[in-house]
Amino acid sequence: MASFSFVISPHDPLDHNLRSRNIPPMFQEGGSSKHILGTDPIGRDLLSRLIHGSRISMTVALISLVVGTLVGASLGLIAGYFGGYIDEVITRIVDIWAGLPYILIAMIIVGAIGASLPTMVVLMALIAWSPFVRLVRGDVLVLKELEYISAAKIAGASNLRILSYHLLPGTINTIIVVATFSVGQMILVEAFLSFLGAGIPPPTPAWGSMIADGRQYMRQAWWVSVIPGIAIFLVTASLSLLGDWLRDYFDPKLRQRAWE
């Protein structure tokens, strides 16, 4: 049903031709044609900042997602397959990790080390990996009871081979769906961190900090805060719809036919 999986991205692939203009003139009404979306309090064109900011958000989100996926899915496979003590330990760690208020800890760390692209990526990868472990492990627990796994074992396949060649393909669907949803969440988290001032430092535009910049001028220049938020929403919502669609696509008989 959710067959309209549109992926709107304000990210303009011709971005390299568009330069953020850091001109200091006064800000204008949102209706001017020279600055389509208006300008921010110190005169920078909002649309350009939006586009450049999307690069940052996307980059951070995607890289941290990839790292988080690799780590999380591997741990999930291992935990599910080997079971027993290893499983217990891994699950405990994930539970404890989920219990920490990561926003505050992330901010402490950023306060200590200073914000930069690598730092942000690492921090967010740390948030990303938990859902993967749980869900992949769940999948593996189901899959490993299937006969072709026992057949492989009897045929003498090594554990590594079983994991990568037999189990992994079975979990790929789940991984893809979770990954799609997670990208959206990563973008939201990155926006929140930069809103609070713990993201990439100032001149570089990031949607969250753009929203923060506009707070003082809400009465006169509401668009500075509102528009980046709309951008965030569009990206996250389309990713979320994409995820829903993917999930339905992979298993139409899924119990969550709620979304038909």
Binding site: P101, V226, I232
Partner: protein, 312 residues
């Protein structure tokens, strides 16, 4: 049952210890606390003062010992001094805990009262306006950044329409309804979205199951069928969702309190970060973590009582 409770208790204890270690480690990462505590003299710090403070704060001992001292202090209720105004932190915690709890509680209530019925309606009246509304609410809750929602609400309701106050808790006595509404919507929306989705899919699943068909075949009225099962799901949903919900409320209150200048713990924590106020930061993070672990523990116990099919 009892074994489960005991096991859960020890797990929680373990989680608590690990969390405190992480927090402690992170706080030490922020650098030598003497930088913030001692007054600077010209180009550096007074040597003697430095050493004295170092001894007093046990900074010359190995890290595990420092950790032990810290835990000892915390357990006795001593969180140290707020670096800004030099007051003892422990006295400042409780007055700020109350607003946060109130906001979180009210938001949760809002989310439950609107979310669950909406989820039920959405499932029962599929492909009608209710269904659409439910799914839109859910999608929005999932994709809108919380802090932005807060800003938007302030813009629409406080700046443009002037119906509701824009910030803080207000100074009137009694329950600050007008002030709490906007922050509560902001905070509660994500939870509401979760409830709608959860309840909707549970209801759909139940409604197609065998015993419902049997009930209908027996001639039980549609309403009874719906409400009997709707309520059963409504009871389980908040609990199943509980742990995630708590984590979401914690993160969300950081957003909501910052945007609405709500005088709670979350905002205090954020300010502490902005002003490099380490002791406060450690104390607030600790409070959040402890609250999360304790509440999670309670929710788990409750869940076992409510749903006897669960065996651990």
């Amino acid at each position: 049952m009892r074994a489960f409770i005991i096991r859960r208790f020890f797990t929680s204890l373990l989680a608590l210890s690990v969390a405190t270690m992480v927090i402690f480690g992170a706080s030490r990462l922020l650098g030598d606390p003497r930088h913030n505590l001692l007054p600077q003299q010209g180009y550096g710090f007074n040597e003697v003062e430095w050493k004295k403070a170092g001894d007093k704060l046990h900074l010359n001992d190995p890290i595990p010992i420092q950790y032990a001292y810290w835990v000892y202090d915390v357990v006795r209720g001593d969180f140290g001094q707020d670096l800004i105004d030099r007051h003892r932190i422990n006295k400042k915690i409780v007055p700020r805990l109350w607003p946060t709890a109130m906001l979180a509680g009210f938001s949760w209530l809002l989310a439950t009262l609107i979310g669950i019925p909406l989820g039920i309606l959405s499932a029962v009246k599929r492909n009608t306006i209710w269904d659409l509304m439910g799914r839109i609410v859910a999608m929005l809750g999932y994709s809108l950044p919380t802090f932005w929602v807060g800003i938007l609400l302030i813009l629409i309701f406080a700046v443009w329409l002037r119906w509701l106050p824009a910030a803080t808790m207000g100074t009137g006595g009694g329950f600050p309804l007008r002030h709490i509404i906007l922050p509560a919507i902001t905070l509660g929306w994500v939870a509401m979205a979760g409830y709608v989705r959860l309840v909707r899919s549970s209801m759909l699943e139940i409604m197609d199951s065998e015993y419902i068909k049997l009930a209908r075949a027996k001639g039980v009225s549609e309403n009874v069928v719906i409400w009997k099962h709707g309520f059963r799901n409504a009871a389980i949903a908040p609990l199943t969702y509980g742990g995630l919900l708590l984590a979401g409320l914690i993160t969300g209150s950081v957003a909501a309190e910052t945007v609405f200048a709500w005088p709670g713990i979350a905002r205090w924590a954020v300010e502490a970060i902005w002003t490099n106020n380490l002791p406060v930061l450690v104390a607030t993070t600790l409070v959040f973590t402890v609250a999360y672990i304790v509440l999670n523990f309670l929710v788990d116990i409750l869940y076992v009582f409510v749903n006897p099919r669960v065996r651990y």
